[in-house]
């Protein structure tokens, strides 16, 4: 399993907002334990997907000059669930972006149904503090999620 909890960005307005989707599929191993007989996307992984959407939005604004780390979830409410075959749509709105970190407001929808909403605070750390291995978030976005940010090239943030 690779730690990608978003599949694609469908909208990306640098410094403002972004939308990414996550397709929930029955072949994901963890769904067969969560829950047996009733596969449903774990809330923690939806949170991770929203954090990846918001974290990339925040990081891109400074051209990934800082390493962005999920630091605090002040508020997160789960209203509904997502099942295999659903497409989760995560929307993140950039509320704050400073040298020390930033904050996003996020929502998760399946169609019209609001699944989750809340706030996520990120902190920036410099590589020296990271210790051990080098983390390269810019590479993570550009080489692993190839073309993920190209969607924003239309200029107004909409998908081409």
């Amino acid at each position: 399993m690779r730690w990608f909890w978003i599949d694609r960005f469908t909208e990306f307005k640098s410094g403002s907002h972004a939308t990414a989707i996550k397709n929930v599929t029955l072949s994901e191993d963890h769904l067969h334990d969560h829950m047996p007989g009733f596969p449903v996307m774990p809330a923690s992984l939806m949170l991770e997907g929203m954090a990846q959407t918001g974290g990339i939005l925040l990081g891109e604004q400074k051209q990934f000059a800082h390493i962005v780390i999920l630091a605090k979830v002040p508020r997160m409410t789960f209203h509904s669930w997502a099942c295999p075959g659903d497409t989760l749509v995560y929307t993140a709105k950039l509320i704050e972006a400073r040298d020390e970190g930033g904050m996003v407001e996020v929502q998760a929808h399946v169609g019209q149904r609001l699944v989750a909403e809340g706030e996520i605070v990120f902190a920036h750390v410099d590589e020296a503090a990271g210790g051990g291995g080098k983390i390269d978030q810019k590479n993570f976005v550009f080489s692993m999620l190839r073309g993920v940010l190209d969607v924003g090239k239309a200029g107004d943030g909409s998908a081409e």
Binding site: A71, K72, P74, R75, I95, E96, R98, D99, E100, G101, G102, M103, V121, A123
Partner: protein, 132 residues
């Protein structure tokens, strides 16, 4: 220019949002760490919300100076704040309560520095920022 009460009410609701507390738990003399359970990451969150709620910019280190807490700053030795440290506190925290600063000078244990960070300190800081 809002009144001190108006500033206090906004600071109170900011802390309620940031720390997930009830309104009546946040009083003027509440200490951010000891009474309200704030941690270092919460300080970042609090600064974000204060900027948004009051429409001002709070540059890094102005409200919660980081230099006070670094190990090699010379401001603390063996768990006690040095004279250099006390001077630094008085300079960097003009909005802190004077009585608490004096009490700290008499009992300069490093743990007591956190007691300077109260709701009143935040209100004082904002009052002077908004008046400028």
């Amino acid at each position: 220019m809002p009144s001190r009460d108006e500033i206090f009410e906004k600071v109170q609701s900011t802390l309620v949002d940031a720390l997930g507390l009830d309104e009546d738990e946040v009083t003027a003399t509440s200490r951010l760490k000891a009474d309200l359970g704030a941690e270092s990451i919460d300080f970042l969150d609090i600064v974000f919300r204060l900027e948004k709620n009051f429409g001002i910019k709070i540059p890094r280190n102005e409200l919660f100076p980081e230099s006070l807490f670094t190990a090699d700053s010379g401001f603390a030795e063996n768990g006690r704040v040095t004279a250099k440290g006390l001077d630094e506190l008085r300079t960097r925290l003009p909005h802190a309560d004077k009585d608490t600063l004096d009490a700290l000078a008499k009992d300069p244990r490093v743990e007591n520095v956190e007691d300077l960070f109260t709701v009143n300190m935040v209100v004082n800081f904002l009052a002077s920022k908004l008046a400028a």
